[in-house]
Structure formats: C-alpha cells, structure tokens
Amino acid sequence: MSGEEKPKRGWLGGLFGKPEPASSAVLEAEPPAPSDDTPPEPVAYDVDEGMAGAAPKLSWFQRLKSGLAKTSTQLTRGITDVFTKRKLDASTLEDLEDLLIQADLGIETAHKIAARLKAERYEKSISPEDVRAVLASEIAKVLEPVAKPLLVDPAHKPHVVLMVGVNGTGKTTTIGKLAERYRKDGLKVMLAAGDTFRAAAIDQLKIWAARTGADIIARDVGSEAASLAFDAMTQAKADGCDLLLIDTAGRLQNKDGLMQELEKIVRVIKKVDPAAPHDVLLTLDATTGQNALNQVEVFKARAGVTGLVMTKLDGTARGGILVAIAAKYGLPVHAIGVGEGADDLQAFDAAEFGRAIAGE
C-alpha cells in the first residue's frame, strides 16, 4: 500500500483530530515502517485489489452528483418537479416532506423540517433554487452540532477506540480507513481482531493491518473476544501505541446474549484502563432505514456508544435517518464512509449532507 500515490485532500486534514500536525507531511513522504513486534503475516491475496482507485479522488458530494447523473434512479428529480409553482403552499410542502421521507428521514423528522420551512416562507414566493437552499440549511442546522471530528488524544497511550455495530455495516473497513488516516499522521496504531466469530474476519483485519502498516493482535477463531481485548490493551500499552482500534463481531441489537458479550468487552477494557474505551464508535449503514434509530438506542445503552460513522454513502442511499438520530440522541458523527478503499473516509460535513438530501 505504501508505494501507491495518493492525491492529498487537504481540506480533510483539520477535520480529523491531528495530535501532531507538523509531523504528518514528513511522515507521509516515506512509507510507514511496519512494527517489529508483530509483523503482519503474509497473506495470499492481492491486498491492493479493490483499492485500485486510479480515478482522481472526488469529494463525496462531487461523487454523489456524478453518480446520480449516471443512474436511472430519479432522486434529484424531486424538487424541480415539485416546484413548477412559485409559491410555497400546503401541497408543495407536503411534496417536500415526501422528498425527505424518501431520503429516510422518517415521518416525524420530515414533518418537523417541513414545518420549519413553512414557518419561514409559507405562502411566500420562492424559487426552486431557494427552496433547495433553505431546505438544505434547515437540515444542516440539525446536523451541525453533531459534526465533530474524532479526537485522538496523544496523552492517552493508547487512545482506545472500540468499533461496534450490526453485521456488515462496515466496522472492519472503517477500522482499516482510520488506521490509514492515523498512520499517515505518524501515529503508532494497533488493530485488535476482536471479531473472533465470523469466518475470515481476522484475516480481513490482518490485510488491513498490512495495507496500513498498523500492528495487529489476533487470536484464533472462536477465542473469547473479551480476553483478546484485554490482551490488546496490555500489549498496546506495553508497546507504547498511540491508538488502539478494537474490532468486534457484528451483532443485531435485539440479540441479548450478543449485547451482553459486548458489555463484557467494555468491562474488560476498563480493567486495564478505567478511562477506556475513549471512543465507542457505532457504524451505521446509510442504506438502513428506520431501524438505525433502534440500533443507536440499544448500542448506546449497552455499549456506551460515543460517536457514529455512517458508511456506504457512495450508493444512492441518502442516510437521512442521521437527521432523526442527531435530533434525538445528539451523538457526534465523526466521519462518513464513501467507498471500500483505505482513503474512502471523509469528515462529516453538515452543510454538504444537507445539500445532498435536499438534492441541491
């Protein structure tokens, strides 16, 4: 991975926590040195497959637009169709509400946003462009308070991030992306292969470790996740790691036994460092509908989720449920996933997200 050229996206920089901003340029110039203690195991797969993004990197929003332009799905049709009239009347508002529902905001939230629009512009003449802008900014207002970067505190050695979520939502991939990000910042990163359940989940994380030059701690399939977390904590501490990213097996939030297992992992981590995990990140798949609210509620209650990462925003799903989640739980949204490559993690930008939902 280290040899691949990647255009830098400077605007992202400040949005993530950067404990040592000065060092990053220097470190990026040379490939990150793999750790000596736990050399990444050689794997039989072409680690770079699937990441061969030769195309120039676009921001999520740019990609979104070009992606939508190519597809037959008519998502952006909405507002322009709606606004053949020039006045914001009741039926137009209803149509706008529908548009928000189609972006997964849910009825309640869609209604609230439309109501705000109504309060401001009802029966006033307004151009389609204006409606879009106002709609986008109303959504952004809800999201702004939660758009917060992940802050890795250099004082914690290590800063511990526990990754949790439903199966297939992107936990492991997000860990890989975060590892890439912080390795580039020159941090010593360790990954813990806590998904000891799913077949080849450990191999998957090993490949990410190799790609990003992070250390990895892994046990055999079927071993206890909590005890692996304990070992990882001790090891990362002993090795003087800056950042420990702990992967977990995917679980549906309504499986009590599996949620108990997660509680145990958190308890065990605290045995080594009572302040850890410093971040418990929940990955939410943008394709998920109203159930994402339950996911947040239960994972927050059981695993103490402190922040969210929304993945798969490179599809056509708008992830509007995030608006409802922000309004209800106020949990920080640290980043968004926009693809499968190591670089496909971007800062969460409330205004951009609002524009994407409003089809601006």
């Binding site: 497959e49 189609q102 992107g170 509908g289 056509t316």
Partner: protein
C-alpha cells in the same frame, strides 16, 4: 416503539359509532394511518402510494358487519392486499435446468451474500441431496474468498480452490468448468458486493451472468433497508436481471418494509429469508408473516411454528395433563421458563407476538427481563423436588437457603412464588372452562388428538363456537389486541363469511382451516406476565 396498525385504526374509528358501509371519508382517514404505518416500516413512498390507492378502492363501500369493528375490517383488507402484493405462495429455488445449475448471488456490500450462499449450499445439499459447489468471485473485499472457503468447510459443502490473482470472470469460468468436470448439480457463485450505480462493477456482473448463464440470479438484500430498497432492486433487476430476492437479517427487529418495496418494483418473488447466524437459519418466505410484521401485528404464525418445533412433546403432554386437572407446580413452571428460553428468550417471543411491543417495555420497566428469567430458573433449581411440588412448605429458613443457592434474595423468591400462584389460578380457571382453552393448550402442548399436536379442522370449529360462549370476564383479562383477535376469530352469524377475518394459511396441522391469531401462542406458551395473564402484565401504569 411502534404502534400497531390495528391500535391506530381503532383510534381512527372510535368516532365511528354507527354501522353500515365504510364511507370515503372514513377510509381516507384510515389510509393516512396505513400510510404512516407503512412508511414507519420502511416501505418506499411510491409503493406506499400505489398500495393505499388500491386499498382505498377496495375499502370504500365495504359493509361493516356486527362481528368486526371497522378497524378490523380495514386491517383485513390491508393485510390481504399486502399478502397479495408480496406474492401468495412460497417460491422455492428453481433447479429445473441442465446440470450444473448456476445460482448467481448479487447485492450491495454487507448485505449477507456470502453467508446466504453457504446457507443455500447447505440446504440444497442436506434437503435436496444435491452436489453443490460454492465459488467466491469476491476479489475485492479482503479475505472474502477465504471466508467462503471456511464456511464451506463448516457446512460440508465443496468450495472452488482459491487461485490468487484471478479476476472475477476468470473464477466464474473456472467454477463452471470445475462443476462440469466434477459432476456437480449446482454451482453457487458468490460475487463481491457492489453499489448499484457503479457502472463498471454492474457491467462486470452482467459479464459474469453471460458467462455462466445462471438459472437463478438472487438479489440478497438486508431486511433493514430503508427507502433505497426500490432504487437498488430496480437497478439490479434492470442491469443484471434477477429471478428472486433473498431477504436477510429478518431476525432483527426491523419491520421489513423493504420486502414490499423490492417485490413491487421488480415483480420478482422473495424466495428465502435469513433469520440468524446459524446454518439452518434460512427459511421459506411466507408473505403473511412479513405482512403482519409490516403492520406491526406480530408474527403469530412464526411464533406458533417455533413453539411447535421447540416444545418437548412428552413433557408438554404431561404438563397439559396436569393442567387439565388444575395442577400446576413449580416443576411445571420451570419447564415453561426453559421452553421459553429454547424459543430464543423473552425478547424473541415477545417480538413475535402482536401488540407486544408495549408489553415488552412494560415488562422491562417491571424488571422482567432475560436476566430475571435466568434468576427465576436458578431459584427453582435450588429447590428440593418436594419444595417444587409443594411450594407451601417454603418457610423463612428454606427461602434463605434457596436465596443463597441461587444468588438471589427472599424478595425475589416471593415474587416468583406470587407469580406461580397467579399462574396456577389462571390455569385452574381455564381448566374449569374445559373445552376450548384446555384443548388449545392440549393441542399446543402436544397432547394426543389433533394432527401433529394441533387441533384438527372439526375440533377447530368446535373451539370457535366455544370461544363464542366464553365467559366475558375471562376475555376482559386479555389485552385489547388479543381481545380483538378473539373477537375476530369468533364465527359470525348469518352471512358473516365475507366480513370474517380470513385467517392466513401456513399453519401446519390446521389444514385448510385457519388460525386463531394470538390465542394458540397464548395458550400454548402461557407466558408468565403476558398482559391479561396475572402477573407482571397486569401491573399497567
């Protein structure tokens, strides 16, 4: 969390006191609630629109008969229409083609293709005695090929050896070749997840399709999918051409509206559903079950099925026998707690019952949880057989011993004893009213008589008439939902056939008859604390 549609509709129709036909205005009000319910269940907006239009057309002018409330009538129309739209019969995977029959698995990232491939492979191997080859074409996600290899090992299904460096189309050709040479009946091709707007990858899928000429192309999609379900299903269908849909994570607590969306935009059947991480957690799709769930009315049929599979018939017969005599000791109670556990615990059971969403919260609030279930079991286990048979002997000293043995305290033991007393009373009451309840329990509990442990058709009819004469006091003890359901299952005099809720098919042992929603579950499981049963549920705040 969610109100069930029937709750909502009953509030819409409370104003409506007179009987007669449903007016357009009534129906319009009702459709607003239907729309809401469907949207909350993640049915795509366009699909909701066409659906409510259809239902509206059918509902206006419908005669409301004495035996059903307008709300129930609308629920019936909605439910039936949902079932029709979801496709009336379970459609199995079609293998009717020259071997090796290729099955192509497609879908978004993380939708569950690999796990589903392995599950289907195992099912075809075990049930259909097919020789199956699994091949992973996923060269994108790290270790995806390795994952399928391991799953093949675990399920005992052959996998195509991995050749590093090969691309998806090369693997596809090699898989077909290997299948031909190896005399395989079926080749399951697991592909990499892809977003449906990724032109390049969608084209790649089309190439693979042309190379392998699959007899089935299954779109694997997450039951938790939101509004995007229509877009993705439409794209996959247009660009690759699918023959069916597999819905995964149906064991989650999502409402599954995506099923309706995808079915509606593609016209393709939902062939299978994934209901867990175990290999056998793959089931045929029954539209009425998902319909009930989308409407927030629980999954009674599944519950009954599950109960039948997990309840130990001999033990159950013994309990049923005792119950008929009005005897119900702690031994029996322990057995019931254990049965509940086998069915996937409180949460699973409650989640499947109609209207139980709220009850679940109440029970949680009352401190009744999986954990307390475990503790209650521990308490009973710490008793001597004599104590279990005759809890009256439990004095302070004995209770202290039991508390120590089970890691609980006296208060908890008393709570359990109280619950047991109430349950025993309830049993007695029911056994006095021999007949329907008794039989139902007998049937559910595996007592001899009904086919497969379930009451036969004639018996069913008898039960229904007994139900009609049931003591109103007993009915009052049931939750509103269950009361409604009892009412709806009650035979209607005269030309009631039209208005009577048509009971969905699919319950084994019931023949062409119907089911009594809610009741078999209630009777059979005797969940402690179900609203209506004395115990926790009664303590409504």
């Amino acid at each position: 969390m969610f109100e069930s549609l029937s709750d909502r509709l009953s509030s819409v129709f409370t104003r409506l006191t007179g009987r007669g036909a449903l007016s357009e205005a009534d129906v319009n009000d009702a459709m607003r609630e239907v729309r809401r319910a469907l949207l909350e269940a993640d049915v795509a907006l366009d699909v909701v629109r066409s659906f409510t239009d259809k239902v509206r057309a059918k509902a206006v002018g419908q005669a409301v008969l004495k035996s059903v409330t307008p709300g129930q009538l609308v629920v019936k129309i909605v439910h039936d229409e949902l079932v029709t739209m979801l496709g009336s019969d379970a459609q199995p995977i079609d293998l009717n083609a020259a071997a090796p029959v290729a099955i192509l698995m497609v879908g978004l990232q993380g939708s569950g293709k690999t796990t589903t491939s392995a599950k289907i492979g195992k099912r075809l191997t075990d049930r259909d005695r097919k020789k199956v080859l699994l091949a992973s074409l996923d060269t994108r996600r790290p270790a995806a090929q390795e994952q399928l290899r391991v799953l093949g090992e675990q399920t005992g299904v052959a996998t195509l050896p991995i050749v590093p460096g090969e691309g998806p189309t090369q693997i596809a050709s090699r898989a077909m070749m290997a299948a031909r040479l190896g005399g395989y009946d079926v080749v399951i091709l697991d592909t990499a997840g892809r977003t449906h707007i990724d032109e390049e990858l969608m084209a790649e899928t089309a190439t693979i399709r042309d190379l392998t000429n699959p007899h089935e192309t299954l779109l694997v999609a997450d039951a938790l999918t939101g509004q995007d379900a229509v877009n993705l299903a439409k794209s996959f269908n247009e660009k690759v051409g699918i023959t069916g849909i597999v819905l995964t994570r149906v064991d989650g607590d999502g409402r599954g509206g995506a099923a309706l969306s995808m079915r509606a935009v593609t016209g393709k059947p939902i062939k299978l559903i994934g209901t867990g991480e175990k290999w056998d957690a793959l089931e045929d799709f029954y539209p009425d079950r998902i319909a009930g769930r989308i409407l927030g009315m629980g999954d009674v049929v599944s519950l009954v099925d599950k109960a039948m599979q997990t309840i130990d018939a001999t033990k159950a017969t013994a309990i049923a026998e005792k119950m008929r005599k009005g005897v119900f000791d702690l031994e029996d109670m322990a057995e019931q707690l254990a049965q509940m556990e086998r069915m996937g615990g409180m949460g699973a059971v409650m989640g499947m019952m109609p209207g139980m969403g709220k009850a679940k919260d109440q029970m949680a609030a009352a401190g009744f949880s999986e954990k307390s279930l475990k503790r209650q079991k521990a308490i009973i286990q710490s008793m001597t057989p004599q104590e279990r048979r005759n809890p009256k002997v439990l004095d302070g000293k004995r209770k202290r011993r039991i508390a120590a043995g089970s890691g609980t305290d006296a208060a908890e033991i008393n709570k359990l004893l109280k619950m047991h007393r109430q349950m025993a009373d309830m049993m007695k009451m029911m056994s006095q009213k021999k007949g329907m309840f008794g039989k139902m329990m007998g049937g559910m509990m595996g007592a001899p008589g009904g086919a497969g442990g379930m009451p036969g058709e004639a018996e069913m009819a008898r039960m229904q008439s007994e139900l009609a004469q049931l003591d109103p006091k007993a009915l009052e003890q049931l939750s509103p939902e269950l009361r409604d359901l009892v009412a709806s299952a009650t035979p209607t005099p005269g030309k009631g056939a039209q208005a009577q809720l048509q009971l969905p098919k699919g319950l084994p042992g019931l023949g062409g008859g119907g089911r009594l929603p809610g009741l078999p579950g209630l009777g059979g499981m005797k969940l402690p604390g179900l609203p209506g049963l004395p115990g926790f549920g009664g303590k409504k705040k």
